[in-house]
Symmetry: C2
Subunit: 194 residues, 2 copies
DNA sequence: GTCTATAACGAGATAGAC
DNA sequence: GTCTATCTCGTTATAGAC
């Protein structure tokens, strides 16, 4: 007997949805099982059935986030030119910010020293994967003449990640998401060919 | 009778020293009065004498940090050309990172939604002050031809803050402070005149 | 798979002696 | 200004019934 199709997610995915939003808005140390439980109308104990420890929950959180992010990068890779891929990359960040969220791994990067080891490794891998993807796009764009920049593509890649993560971080405290867009535009403009 | 001169700080300043380092490494929600007390060899209760609530401690933390940062900007303002001022600005960040710390306000920006209101306002003001200082330097440099960039100086200023804060954030999780230097170099290079 | 109940601990904070 | 002692609350986590 096949399971009923419903429009609502349930169980673990639903827990991850709520935890993810809380983590992106308040940080991993800024929410508790009680917060998730009250929002879902269940008890804390039932959450522990799905994620025995908060470290397990956090690890699952990053894993899902990184997978989805990687899928978004795969979609961006289908675009024609490399400038469009960079724009799509920046738009990923913009979309997160529009939902009043910080990038999950950017948030966890701040809390890095307090995170369980498994989470630390996963956060670092997220940035390394992003860096590799950007490095490839940047190199291709420079060869094709659609992008222009000096120095190692790897450094330019980290500058892009840093600029976008930092712009999210700062524009959130300035209470003005449009400042992110201005900073992101200024950042991408510096890769335009003269 | 004048107070004895000693090489050791004591009382409130010393508490702030320890709390500041903890906040910059672990976040404001990542340390407790117990952490400070054990490091200073005093009790939690005596800390509450100096800072009745953690919000008071946090507010004092930002106030001192912003004052010192402002003084550093004043010193940078005495440099001759605007390119040197930008380099000095970036070096401020680099020095913090070398001590294994995140910028205090960058860290607090991540935790923004969980902070007491007074702290939120102070964090936003820190970034606004930085932005104003950079905007002035950038405008002057563009007029003098020592700096080159397109678009509003305000957007370029926020890009600089974002890039430096983001590079600190990310290079800390990558476990490689030299990645900050590479990103900062790439960032500043984009303001060099052709 | 979800519940009630509770354990075990750490957090911020206060009272009052010294 | 620092101490001991205590309070209250929130946190993660577990045991065991349903």
């Amino acid at each position: 007997m096949a399971r009923e199709m419903t429009t609502e997610t349930s169980g673990a995915p639903r827990i991850l949805d709520v935890a993810e939003r809380l983590a992106q808005r308040r940080g991993f140390n800024g929410f508790s099982y009680a917060d998730i439980a009250s929002e879902l109308g269940v008890t804390k104990a039932s959450l522990h059935y799905h994620f025995a420890s908060k470290a397990d929950l956090g690890t699952a959180l990053i894993a899902r986030y990184a997978t989805r992010f990687g899928e978004a990068l795969d979609r961006a890779d289908e675009l024609e030119d490399e400038r469009a891929k960079l724009a799509a990359y920046a738009e990923l960040y913009a979309g997160v910010l529009r939902d009043d969220r910080m990038c999950l791994c950017g948030m966890l990067a701040a809390e890095y020293e307090t995170l369980p080891e498994a989470m630390q490794g996963a956060v670092a891998r997220f940035f390394e994967d992003n860096e590799r993807w950007l490095e490839r796009v940047l190199e291709a764009g420079r060869e094709q003449g659609t992008l222009a920049f000096a120095g190692p593509a790897r450094d330019a890649a980290l500058l892009l990640i840093s600029g976008l993560e930092g712009a999210m971080l700062v524009s959130r405290s300035l209470g003005d998401p449009s400042r992110f867009d201005a900073a992101a535009r200024a950042l991408l403009a510096r890769f335009d060919p003269a």
